[in-house]
């Protein structure tokens, strides 16, 4: 197929031109000081970009090539001539925002670092204008990776917040426990020190601490803080595993998701086997 004559390629080229044009406009807006409202300009950019993404999504889904294109839009293969996307590759390679994909796998520093973002060069200016780089909209070929990174970063923040809330609970518990110990321990502190009085003092501390702890631990705020911490930790672990699975796939190693799929198949087979074993002798398999 001739790349130049392919209408799909022409539309793709138009998309890239518009994309890069809007990116440049955004960069201009970000780098401009003292003029205009950066917030409004960012919003306008995002709206324009959303429209473009919708156009491109429509373009890709309107063709039978949609599925493989979405799966590997820029993948160069050894059999490049037979690849239906071969015509895209030269153009795609020329687009700076896809270089990380072509230069290395998705776990390369480029893809995960700022250079993997199509508008990496704009971020310093955006930050200077008050934009939070960590919340940059996910765009381009590294969009999913960026979303993964942003989600993980957000979960890390949530975990920290949850830790702080539980720590607040513990601060209250220890404060109450020490107050109660002070009320009870005067007599012991005035007695002649001995191993027994030291032990009694220690036991008073435990009594005071457990009492204060039980009072708090049975309350809704403590339970909520515990659950929040546990939930945040679980979500962060799962997000971290997504990274690891990405790495595993890059090296063609099995992932937990694949193992689980195999385990489910084994489990189904084992159940069917037990059902067959428990069926009375002479009774054949039932129709599904």
């Amino acid at each position: 197929m001739s790349a130049a004559a392919d209408p799909l390629l022409e539309r793709f080229r138009a998309y890239c031109d518009q994309y890069l044009g809007v990116s440049r406009a955004l960069g201009d807006a970000m780098n401009r000081t003292g003029g205009g409202d950066p917030t409004q300009q960012i919003r306008a950019f995002l709206e324009a970009l959303t429209g473009l993404q919708q156009q491109v999504a429509g373009m890709w889904t309107a063709t039978p090539l949609a599925a493989p294109l979405a799966a590997a839009p820029f993948a160069a293969t050894a059999s490049g001539a037979a690849n239906p996307f071969a015509g895209f590759i030269p153009f795609a390679a020329a687009a700076p925002f896809v270089m990380p994909w072509l230069a290395a796998g998705p776990l390369s520093g480029g893809a995960f670092g700022a250079a993997g973002q199509p508008w990496a060069a704009l971020l310093p200016g955006a930050a200077a204008a008050g934009f939070m780089p960590g919340s940059a909209p996910a765009l381009g070929p590294t969009r999913e990776l960026q979303e993964m990174w942003q989600r993980t970063a957000k979960l890390g923040e949530q975990l920290q917040q949850a830790q702080l809330r539980l720590l607040e609970q513990w601060n209250g518990i220890v404060t109450t426990a020490l107050q109660r110990l002070g009320d009870r321990a005067n007599a012991l502190l005035e007695a002649t020190p001995s191993p027994e009085t030291l032990r009694s003092l220690y036991d008073q501390w435990i009594e005071a601490a457990e009492g204060a702890y039980a009072q708090a631990a049975h309350g809704p705020a403590f339970a909520a803080a515990q659950a929040e911490l546990g939930n945040a930790h679980s979500q962060l672990r799962s997000a971290q595993r997504e990274y690891l699975e990405l790495a595993a796939r890059e090296f063609d190693l099995p992932t937990r998701t694949e193992f689980n799929s195999v385990l489910q198949q084994l489990r189904d087979l084992k159940r069917a086997l037990h059902e067959l074993e428990e069926r009375p002798a002479g009774r054949g398999p039932q129709a599904p």
Binding site: R199, Y202, Q235, R267
Partner: protein, 354 residues
């Protein structure tokens, strides 16, 4: 922290004595490091995946009752039931002529993450029961469920009443949402699906930490500090080490079954509500019409008596006996009082019912 400095107000002599006792206790524990739980003679009679079904060797002429299958919890090892010769519920039962079987669930690994409650109750447990019944040519056996294993046994007895002759539950949660159940309060807002998705096999250490967090100052500090003043002899040190090894020997939990147990029982309290389905079948406790002995501890901080006692009102049997002891959860397994009273009560109760 300068461990050799006296705390405020204590004179040097008193503090030196504390340190001397601490050194002696540590030396006794070091010498007891090899003490291991377990000891009664037994043989494996059935194996499947990680599970092993044991039959214990008789220590007395057989009592006139059906064999007793003990179903322990998934969350700890059953070794606590046969910790050592003088702290062994199993040995005390054997001495009274009871034919004892025990399910050891083993240690789930990643391959077991999809196991559900249905697999444990209608699968593994049922196949163990049927193995024993076939081996002894009996229609039904006696079931003793401990803690979570008691909940499993209740479900089993309700789903397969024809195979259970008598049912004993020990420190078994039934109503999972009573006001003094701290574990229950903590898990109400827990996203158990996210937890299981993150871990697959829920680590035993995580559960152990949750249990320790119920009374953290006593269980993580005072328990060890008291060793300083106890002048441990070798036997006491060995006892302590065996318990210590058992407490922290916690298998991981198959994720799917764990999620079902937490959601259906702790969060939705389905067993009490009569809405629990296992393997597509409703667990109706009113179907349990065989005699039931329910044993629980008044000091239990893991399964409060308020969680066990409601069983009385949920069963279909007219032969229900409750036995409450002034012990805690662990004390029910190993305390001197429980060792004296529980095996005898079980043996007497079974002999009366066969």
């Amino acid at each position: 922290v300068n461990a050799t400095a006296p705390p405020g107000g204590a004179d040097d002599a008193a503090w030196r004595e504390v340190l001397r006792r601490a050194a002696a206790a540590l030396e006794a524990l070091r010498a007891a490091a090899g003490a291991e739980p377990g000891g009664s003679a037994r043989e494996a009679v059935y194996r499947e995946d990680k599970l092993t079904l044991y039959r214990y060797r008789a220590l007395a002429p057989p009592a006139d009752c059906a064999p007793l299958l003990i179903v322990f919890a998934l969350v700890n090892r059953p070794t606590v039931l046969d910790l050592q010769a003088d702290r062994s519920l199993i040995r005390r039962l054997l001495e009274r002529g009871i034919d004892v079987y025990l399910i050891d669930w083993g240690r789930p690994d990643g391959a077991d993450r999809l196991l559900e409650l249905d697999d444990y109750i209608n699968g593994y447990l049922d196949r163990c029961v049927r193995h024993i019944l076939a081996a002894q040519a009996l229609p039904a056996l006696n079931l003793l469920g401990v803690c979570q294993g008691g909940t499993f046994s209740l479900c089993y007895a309700a789903l397969h009443p024809e195979r259970v002759r008598n049912l004993i539950t020990m420190v078994t949660p039934v109503d999972f949402q009573t006001p003094d159940n701290l574990l229950s309060k903590w898990v109400q807002a827990l996203d158990v699906d996210a937890l299981v998705a993150a871990w697959g096999i829920v680590p035993g250490e995580l559960l152990n930490n949750a249990y320790l967090a119920l009374m953290p100052f006593r269980l993580l500090q005072q328990k060890y500090a008291h060793l300083v003043g106890d002048e441990l002899d070798a036997a006491q040190a060995a006892n302590f080490m065996r318990m210590e090894k058992w407490i922290f020997d916690s298998p991981g939990q198959a994720g799917a079954a764990f999620a079902q147990f937490v959601r259906w029982l702790y969060q939705e309290n389905r067993l009490t509500a009569g809405t629990l389905d296992i393997g597509g079948r409703r667990v109706d406790l009113r179907r349990i019409r065989v005699p039931v002995l329910n044993i629980y501890g008044s000091q239990d901080h893991i399964v409060p008596p308020s969680a066990s006692a409601p069983l009385a009102t949920l069963l279909g049997t007219r032969d229900y006996t409750a036995l409450q002891l002034d012990v805690g959860h662990i004390g029910m397994y190993v305390s001197a009082r429980a060792q004296r009273e529980v095996p005898q009560a079980i043996a007497d109760w079974l002999r009366e019912r066969g």
